[in-house]
């Protein structure tokens, strides 16, 4: 075999392998979406026409709608809180001067590193000690902590590329720090803050492992309901609910990406 055909063969094999790896990565999600449109009673690939019957089922199920509402409330409120706290911390770490700044900033990332099961039991135990009710308060506070590192990283990287002379000009011209933030710094970094809030929402909306410890009987979130349903048997309602989750998460993540790269 000549070198040229060997090289060609290598090229073709490599392309085929890459296609397989992409398939491995993406097919599980695609199959969840595809089988949600089945007219049958189990998640099958629809071969004779598509059906929306499992989405109608979803709309009729009080438990699932309630989970969706709980998830939306928890994720929205925790995303707002985490955007505010994450931004404040990011400003402090980028602008402040104190010893061991880099090392200390790792603490802000800890919620991302510690296994969420450990976070879950630690938080549920702590919340009961400080008598924070389970359900919404525990879920919101827990999700705020868990999504905080993402906002922190995003806003911090934005601040590092930001021109501080604009701020100095504002201060020299007589504006106080809060006015400067409202009219100069804020508008410039607000796309990054919003991007951070969206990512925090996405993190919160999909979180399961720590969440299972924080819910109360009336406040199951969508991932918890999906998990519970999976344990009792496969029905295409799980697919329909998963697709709703996918759509919400992807829309916000894409919006976040648009904002942060702008």
């Amino acid at each position: 075999m000549s070198t040229r055909t060997t090289a060609q063969l290598e090229g073709v094999t490599f392309r085929a392998l890459i296609t397989l790896v992409f398939a491995f990565l993406l097919l599980p999600v695609l199959i969840v979406i595809l089988t949600s449109f089945t007219p049958q009673n189990f998640p099958a690939i629809p071969q004779e026409g598509l059906s929306l019957k499992w989405y109608q089922e979803l709309l009729a199920d009080q438990r699932l709608l309630s989970a969706l509402t709980v998830s939306l409330i928890v994720s929205t409120v925790s995303a707002i809180l985490s955007a505010i706290i994450g931004t404040i911390a990011a400003i402090g770490f980028v602008r402040g001067e104190f010893p061991y700044k880099e090392q200390i900033s790792t603490v802000m990332l800890l919620p991302m590193i510690i296994s969420p099961v450990i976070t879950g039991i630690a938080l549920v135990r702590y919340f009961s000690t400080i008598q924070l009710p389970s359900g919404f308060p525990a879920l919101i506070l827990g999700h705020t902590v868990l999504s905080l590192p993402y906002v922190f990283l995003l806003v911090r990287s934005e601040l590092l590329t930001y021109d501080r002379d604009l701020e100095r000009a504002s201060r020299v011209l007589g504006a106080d720090p809060v006015t400067t933030f409202r009219h100069v710094t804020g508008p410039i970094i607000s796309p990054a803050i919003l991007a951070g809030a969206f990512i925090a929402f996405v993190v919160s909306f999909g979180e399961f492992t720590a969440t299972q410890f924080l819910i109360s009987p009336g406040t199951s979130t969508v991932p918890v309901v999906i998990y519970t349903m999976l344990r009792t048997g496969l029905t295409p309602t799980i697919n329909a609910l998963s697709v709703v989750l996918i759509v919400v998460m992807l829309v916000l993540a894409l919006a976040s990406r648009k904002l942060s790269s702008a």
Partner: protein
């Protein structure tokens, strides 16, 4: 000031004047640290006294129980599955990263395809893999080809590798992308073949990214709850599942805390050993 201020402007101005000179940036950093400290670090640290149950007559009871066979098995399994998953994930991620860095023009599109799964909840992705491996699932239904993989160790490893693959691509791609193309050209011009260039030039230069990726995947995989819970059977129980079980099914917070602490100590110990082989600070600086 000549500019007419509205209500909100006046309020922020008054607050701003009041804060002038009193609040420094390091106070803002302190606020963030305080929040994480109060609602994350402190709760985790409180697991230590919890696990010891010092008030009781048998303070180290929980730790003695951790030494039990089934729990030791769960620890061993966690680290073992962590290693195997890391190996599989790194191999796949290296191929994807090489493709992104050297053999495609459409890097943006390919990158989006790799990152999109990161934005989808783990539970949904494990559900997709469950559907794939399910003997009565859509794939078996369509093709008539049934696998016996579900609820076995390979199923768990496949699931973990699938879910953590995007995390591994980013650092490897970054280190491959940073390689000076002149070095690759020089190697080729000096007569090295494609494979020799890969093994002697590209691979050594991408090592920091590879090590960083391995570290991330290992930590995530070893601590996974959902992978073994959805795709494994009773024989695939990992440490996260044992901790959750102790807490949720048996309401034994002391024991759950002891397991969590032993696991964290073992993981940190492993990272310290790792640190003597590779400089951790340097590795993480490369992400």
């Amino acid at each position: 000031m000549s500019v007419q201020r509205g209500g909100l402007g006046r309020v922020t101005h008054i607050i701003g004047e009041g804060l002038e000179g009193r609040i420094a940036n390091r106070h803002l950093a302190l606020f963030g640290l305080g929040f994480v400290g109060l609602f994350f670090v402190l709760p985790i640290l409180l697991l230590i006294p919890e696990s010891l149950s010092l008030g009781s007559t048998t303070p180290f009871e929980s730790y003695r129980r951790v030494m039990n066979g089934i729990y030791v098995d769960a620890f061993v399994r966690s680290f073992l599955y962590g290693f195997v998953t890391t190996g599989v994930t790194l191999a796949l991620a290296y191929m994807l990263s090489y493709f992104l860095a050297f053999s495609t023009e459409r890097v943006r599109t390919a990158m989006i395809l790799i990152i999109v799964p990161l934005w989808i909840a783990y539970i949904v992705r494990y559900f997709g893999i469950l559907l794939f491996l399910s003997p009565a699932g859509p794939l078996a239904d369509l093709t008539g080809f049934e696998t016996d993989l579900l609820f076995t160790t390979p199923a768990v490893v496949i699931g973990l590798a699938n879910v953590y693959l995007p995390f591994a691509v980013l650092p490897i791609y970054n280190s491959l992308n940073a390689i000076d193309e002149e070095l690759v050209n020089a190697s080729r011009v000096l007569g090295a073949g494609k494979w020799r260039t890969i093994t002697k030039v590209i691979f050594p230069l991408s090592l920091p990214g590879l090590v960083a990726a391995g570290l991330i995947v290992f930590i995530l995989a070893a601590g996974s709850f959902l992978g073994p819970a959805v795709l494994g059977g009773p024989k695939q129980t990992m440490i996260a599942n044992v901790i959750a079980q102790a807490f949720l099914d048996n309401f034994n917070i002391q024991f759950a805390s002891a397991l969590a602490i032993v696991y964290t100590v073992l993981l940190v110990g492993l990272l310290l050993v790792f640190n003597t082989l590779f400089d951790l600070q340097e590795v993480l600086g490369n992400i």
